[in-house]
């Protein structure tokens, strides 16, 4: 256990304080994302997350998946309270390690209110943390760290290409209404090096990862119950992000995506270009929820079969965000060959998802 108080925690505490008073601003097209500032927190918006996923390989040749998410949730009702404990921002973190030898996820979660330097999200660059769980960026790239009783992650994520702005230059629509949108960019093809711990045993790992950063103030539109999302690092340097938002009757309310070729050209996909077709379901023995864990995904020129690293990658975060969902490592196979690897997220298959 390592907890060095750092000067920057104090500095950013002061920077964050009072930054979020007033009504949450709308998400509008035309906003120009500027880095590194937009890599930092946007405390005025109600919801924000940094979401890192990826595939790891141990020296013994095991393939593993990892996922760590930091959520920030603003509580405007606390704005007026002058207490240093006022829960203006709640920070939540989930981490999971997918290990086929273990058969299900090792996962854990943290939740804390921002304050006293113990938890928070910095505004000038990516730096979000709860106690000793943290995701932070410097010139070399991202460093992430999370540890719990059964596993630990300590990884360096180094970018190999520019951020990929989703939607219209980072304005990503989530529904028909113009305000149903978020600001959203991804960092695909991150090179990973680091160390993982499983039940006390440590392994050096290498691999590739994906980082999403998204913020908004709008909940899911009424009638939407959940989404399917996938982020894939395509062999050779390409990347695909695709999502669809479902209604309660199995229909699609909205879809979107971004496809980057190995050459580096990036194109936003129209809703009609994205088709998710479930091929195989898996039923969770814990919750009884049926998840479609194998898919055919067509997104623009991309057409492949998504296969999970293992079936049971269900996460139960009822203690923090209140959601149960499936979030797991997948391979994309076309013509018998693995052409991409990444993460698939399936929400709202049990109960409708609520973003707040």
């Amino acid at each position: 256990m390592k907890r060095r108080p750092k000067a920057w925690t104090i500095a950013l505490l002061l920077a964050a304080a009072g930054a979020a008073a007033g009504p949450p601003p709308p998400v509008v097209p035309g906003y120009v994302l500027a880095f590194p500032r937009d890599r930092g927190s946007h405390p005025a918006f109600l919801t924000e997350w940094w979401y890192a996923t990826g595939w790891l390989r141990t020296p013994a040749g095991e393939d593993l998946g990892f996922q760590i998410t930091f959520f920030r949730s603003r509580q405007p009702e606390a704005d007026a309270n002058p207490s240093a404990f006022a829960p203006r921002q709640i920070v939540i973190a989930h981490a999971a390690l997918a290990d086929p030898a273990f058969g299900r996820l090792r996962h854990d979660q943290r939740i804390a209110r921002e304050g006293f330097g113990l938890a928070g999200a910095q505004t000038d660059d990516t730096r979000v943390w709860i106690d000793d769980w943290r995701l932070e960026r410097d010139a070399a790239g991202y460093a992430l760290q999370a540890s719990s009783e059964s596993f630990s992650l300590r990884l360096a994520l180094v970018p190999t290409q520019a951020p990929m702005l989703n939607g219209e230059a980072g304005y990503s629509r989530k529904g028909a209404a113009p305000l149903a949108a978020s600001y959203y960019y991804s960092e695909p093809q991150l090179r990973v090096r680091g160390e993982i711990g499983r039940d006390g045993r440590r392994d050096a790992v290498t691999g590739e990862a994906w980082l999403d950063h998204e913020w908004s103030s709008e909940p899911l539109e009424p009638g939407a119950v959940g989404w399917d999302w996938v982020g894939l690092n395509i062999a050779g340097g390409g990347a695909l992000m695709a999502f669809r938002i479902r209604d309660g009757r199995g229909g699609v309310r909205h879809a979107g995506g971004t496809l980057r070729t190995p050459a580096g050209t990036t194109r936003a996909l129209a809703p009609t270009e994205i088709v998710f077709t479930p091929l195989r379901h898996w039923r969770s023995p814990r919750t009884g929820i049926d998840y479609p864990v194998e898919w055919r995904l067509q997104a623009g020129t991309f057409d492949a079969r998504l296969e999970p690293l293992m079936d049971d990658q269900e996460s139960d975060s009822r203690a923090t965000t209140g959601a149960i969902y499936w979030e797991g490592a997948v391979r994309a196979r076309a013509a018998g060959r693995v052409i991409a690897r990444g993460y698939l997220e399936l929400t709202g298959y049990g109960e409708p998802l609520s973003l707040r």
Partner: protein, 843 residues
Amino acid sequence: MSQARLWGSLWLAEWRERPGRLLVAVLALALGVALASAVHLVNRTALDEFEQAARRLVGEADFVVRGAPGGFAEALYPAVARMPGVAVASPVLELSATVFSARAAAPRALVLPILALDPLRAAQLQPALLGDLAGALRGLFSPDGIFLSARAAAELGVRKGDSFEVLVGTARRRLEVLGLLAESAYPRMLGLMDIAAAQWVFGRLGVLDRIDVRVATGASASAVRAAIVPLLPAGVSIAAPVVDSARIASATRAYRVNLDMLALVAVLTGGFLVLATQSLSILRRRAALGLLRALGVTRGALRRALVIEGTLFGVVGAAVGVFVGQEVGAVLLRAFAGDLGAGQFRGVAEAPVLQPLEALAFVVAGTLVAAAASWLPAHEAAARPPARALKSGDAEALRAGVRPWRGGLVLIGCGTVLASLPALHGLPVFGYGAIAALLAGGVLLVPGIARHVLAMWPPPRRAPLALAVAQLRGSIAQASIGLAAVIVSFSLMVAMAIMVHSFRVSFVDWLGRSLPADLQLRLGGDSDTAALDEPSQARLAAIDGVERAEFRRTFRVSLRRGATPVHVVAAPLAAAHAPARLAIVASAPVAQPRDVAPLWASEAMQDLYGWQPGEEVTLPIAGRAIRFRVAGVYRDYGRSTGSVVLSRALYQSLTHDRSANEGVFDLAPGASPAAVVRAMHEAVDAGAALQIRTTREVRERSLANFDRAFAVTYALEAIAVLIGLLGVGVSAAATALARRGEFGMLRHIGFLRRQVLAMLAGEGALTSAIGVACALALGGALSVVLVRVVNRQSFLWSIDLAVPWGLLAGLVLALLASAAATAFVSGRAALTGDAVRAVREDW
């Protein structure tokens, strides 16, 4: 097998013939066991609930960083949370808020304990308390919301979604009920708030009362503690979480031990009664028993059979007693709450049940007492040569050989030594030991004293009385069995009566000295959220009819880890003069030096912290250690855990806190107290939270509380005396029956029936007179031990000895009369047969 049948018929014959007497012995024992188990049940239930509640509040913390009342700066929290090895640090604010109940038509003010925490941190330490709220945790973030325990919601008369008022200073704030905790989550009154909301609503920004800490797996709790200690400001310390519940328990321990002791006395007195009954019944069966011995039954077999017989009484009596005790305990808990009237526990929710092991322990204890009590007569019966037993008139042989006065003197010597020893772990263990030794010693000395008294008794003129004296001279040993029961119960009663009376006299005197003003004002009871600001104080002082107003600020300070906080009164003081309204018992011998402020300490401070007049002491105020000199020691019956009085001007200069929560007012001549009280309520709009009482009301309420607290004590005493009287009756009956032959002879030689009865009554009265005289002397000695040793060591205050002569005289007369009456009644029973048969029986 045949032997068993033989014994069975021997016992059955006796039981068939004298069922009433047997019943009395069994009932006496049952009564004692019932009392003991009921008192135990009440104590245990109250303590269990306290402990469970305390555990829920502290949860699974490894240790607690706790500040003085008033709290410490919250900057300590991140420092502790970041300390390597700390897994969870949970910041807590503890409040006692004055709230207004919406239930009654007239709004009632009550004190609601509020625990304010960061639920996101606390959920890891207090899962039992917060578990139910898992889904609703974020509801707590509402800036004016509160969760209530089911008990608190009931007391306040609110449901989820309702709101109620809370007093902050003299202002009212409204809190919304966000939800209720399950009854199983927390049994007592409690409110749960978010720490940010509580800091804001109650004006405690920047302050914490405690930080609960759990250490990471694999880290050493003691190493982490040691690393945190250097960070702590003055008045903040680290405590084990269990200390909190132990502290609550210790606050009432002395009172509880007293009740346990009384219950034990009842059991022992019941044991004496079994001894008397068994002696009597063995006496009556002496011929049958002698015959059995003559027929070849061995000494050991006879003794065993008789002890088994007594043990059977014990089993039945104790079983009945445990059953009754369970019921009585439940009734007591409902009627008096868990404190048996001491006012320290408020309300117990659960229906109490004796655990099977506890019940078994009481049955075994009662049975052992009965077995021990029947061993002595059984031993003597078995030891007697059959030939003598078969002869009549052998009754006096019983115990005649015992000369116990040496043992008695030794025991009394031991008692005197024990009485001079200090308390053990805050309990007057040696004091009780002294009482037991003196009691046993007194009982052993009785036969000797009685013999001397009777020897010196001038022979009365009238024949029946002369015979009575003569008879007693010859049968001291037997009479002393009955006497023992009288002496045990009566001397304890005398001692308790003197102790309670002394206490009451001192208490009344103390009330008189500490309440000379006309009106007493208190805001918010024991709340720490309500306070009178300066404008309120000015308005109160300016009310028409108020001649002089004095305001005080009271607060609590922890002087030692785990100890109950000390009550501090900041009152206006003229420099270096003892404050008015204190019952000073000792003063510093020399004048105060100018550079150290004076302070007056209660007697408990002397005993708990060793503060002596003239000594320099330190007191943490506003996070600083302030030096004081103890200018004097006063008596404080209001707080047994210690209180001090210091200058309010000094307190204000240290804390800049100019508020007050108590006031005393002298009224102008002719002013109407009722009108002034009305005006005060108008000046401070705090409703029922503002308690204003006239001095007379305070005195009456205090005395009513006092008497209520001792009501149970009186009841226990009365039962002990009742058992003692039963003992007198049984032993009188024993004597009378054993002497049927003698009565026949007396009648034969011309004694009138009336004269025989007069003789018996005289004997009864004389026996009791000796017993009562001994018990008075013994009780007096015991009362000195109770007042000077047990009371002082239990409650940490002194009492001036005062004797309730009238009460004692009444008790003596009642006892003598009932002794004479029982002797008379049993004599009549013995005289029912005709004289000739009685004489022939004696052959």
